[in-house]
Amino acid sequence: MSLRYPVVRTRAVIGLAFAHLRRSPGRTVLAVLAVSLSVLAVTLLASLGAGVVEVGETGLDNANRDIWISSDPVDPSASGTENPIADSHGTAAELTARDDVSSAAPLAMHEVYIGTEPDDLERTSAVGVQETHDGFDFQSGHGFDRVEPPSDGERPTEPQTAEIVLDPQVADAVGASVGDTVYIGTSRETAPDYEFTVVGTASYYSQFLGTPAVTVPLPDLQVVAGTTGTDRATFITADAAAGSDPAAVRDDLAAEYPDYEVRTSDEQVEAMVADRPLVLASGTTLVGLAVIGGVVLTTNLFALMVTQQRRELAALRAIGLSRHVLAGMIAVQGLVIGLLGGIVGIVATPPLTHALNRLAHELVGFENLLQTPPEVYLVGFALAVGVGTVVAGITGWRVGRTLKLQHLEL
């Protein structure tokens, strides 16, 4: 069979489709915008989902630790109100003594009240760690040096260094800067009892928690929280020794400490996300609704477009054009609108993501909450082009069957 006829017909169909699009530029532009809105709904919501996971991973990556030991549930959004690991320094010392572990350190989280005046306090999150490091990226001042864990039998009753690193937002809120003294406690009543000196400002752990957080030496936080006696922590983090496989170390530790959850860094992120069924369900629902909404919007759009053309389509059918040609003509229109809408949506995604990230940072402290991996762009573009073409083609095919003679107004 000669290819000439199909080629001639295809070229003519494309020409007819473009002629239709050119006929009503306003309608075409609106259709493109509607498709791009569908794309944006999908890319932005998917970026939010990807960003939530990425922020968690980045937070853990920044900690630069191979192994995370916890006792579930761990809920950073509650900022470590539960610190289920007892004798954390003792356990960390045991881990450090192993040949396959190079170092281990506990990490605790608490809700605290803080302020420059005992009667003017702000509620925020506090993270207790052994030391700060260069990764904190201090905006001002510096961190605090390593605070040695208490030796057996010794339990401090007063903060050892009483030094604190403030998140910049917390510093602004309480009006403190490097060198100032702040009061800190786990309740408004106990806060006046503990005076700490601000040694730096950094948002390092705020990124990890997604909320403004202050950082203090762990033994000092335990004193403030009254958990010194049981030496409680939220996590014990560890590094595998050089040449040791973190996964193998994890397995060994899991066998040795069956009461705890032992995970690699990636597994810890997954566990933290999985522990939020509501967040997961909400995210999935939003993305699902965005996709369904995009499909419904696109379908309605093309159905409307075809309805507006039904007299012309009926005339074309009457003068002998086949349903294939009509469906092809509508499908090409859908393809073009989908392509343009997809491109507009994809191009608009980065600036809108940037704007939403700024808003999220202002509101909840997260930086880069929305992150758009290439796969999200692909999904958004595929939705626009694929759904646009398929829906338009099906609509065109159906209209070829349902065209009424009355549409010709003979």
Partner: protein, 254 residues
């Protein structure tokens, strides 16, 4: 199958007329058509219908122009639709050059219509985004005629209808009479055996309408033309006028 149908149509058209009764270009034999009624409240299982044609039989010879007259709803347009294969009557047969269209599928009827029927609409139904030449060339798209050949054929037809200098004009740049002449040129694009025209002068002033009728008269010298109209001056160009009332033929004369 389509080739067989077209072969039958071609052989029927070429039969010598001096040896037997000439094959009519169009034959309606005992055609009755009922439309399903809409609106109103129907009981379960109840089906209300409107009878548009009642036992209509008409023969149209090649080179004959037939006028269809009658009030609105008398069945004029239904006859045109049946001849074009746009509808299949409830009963009876519709033959085009000896081939019954009624048992054919929609696809095959479309194919036959494309090859053998040209349609002129009252409202022209030109695609507003296409030039006059592109509109005329539209029926040739489906048959796979290359673009250059389509343009050549369309230009020839537009020249024949007196619009050789308007080939690149959009419909919006043409007068009503010019648009109808473009529509007539489009109807002739595939060199059809039958041309049907429903109120072809309905949207035109008298002078313009007369010019269009002259054109249709020329068209009718070589083809069978079915012309539906309320207008007596339009029907005056017909060789025969068939009068319809309530779907029935009440008069058929010269």
């Amino acid at each position: 199958m389509i080739h067989r149908i077209l072969g039958t149509l071609a052989s029927a058209a070429s039969q010598p007329s001096d040896e037997r009764q000439p094959t009519p270009a169009v034959r309606l034999d005992g055609v009755t058509h009922e439309y399903g009624a809409t609106g109103g409240r129907l009981r379960a299982g109840e089906q209300r219908t409107v009878t548009a044609l009642r036992d209509v039989s008409i023969d149209v010879q090649p080179g004959e122009t037939i006028g269809l007259e009658g009030p609105s709803g008398s069945g004029k347009s239904t006859i045109l639709h049946a001849v074009a294969g746009l509808l299949v009557p409830t009963s009876g047969s519709v033959e085009l050059i000896g081939t019954d269209l009624t048992p054919l599928s929609t696809r095959k009827r479309t194919h036959v219509r494309r090859q053998h029927v040209g349609i002129v609409f009252q409202h022209f139904h030109l695609l507003p985004s296409l030039s006059a030449r592109a509109n005329v060339a539209l029926p040739l798209v489906q048959t796979g005629v290359p673009k250059r050949a389509r343009r050549k054929r369309a230009t020839e037809l537009l020249t024949q209808v007196g619009l050789g200098d308007r080939t690149t004009h959009l419909p919006s740049e043409l007068s009503g009479g010019e648009r109808q002449r473009v529509a007539i040129a489009r109807a002739l694009a595939t060199d059809p055996t039958v041309v049907i025209a429903d109120e072809p002068t309905g949207e035109l002033d008298t002078a313009t309408g007369n010019a269009v009728l002259d054109l249709l008269t020329d068209v009718g010298r070589e083809r069978a033309v079915l012309l539906a109209s309320h207008d007596e001056s339009t029907l005056a160009v017909a060789d025969r006028v068939i009068t319809l009332r309530d779907g029935q033929v009440v008069a058929d004369g010269h």
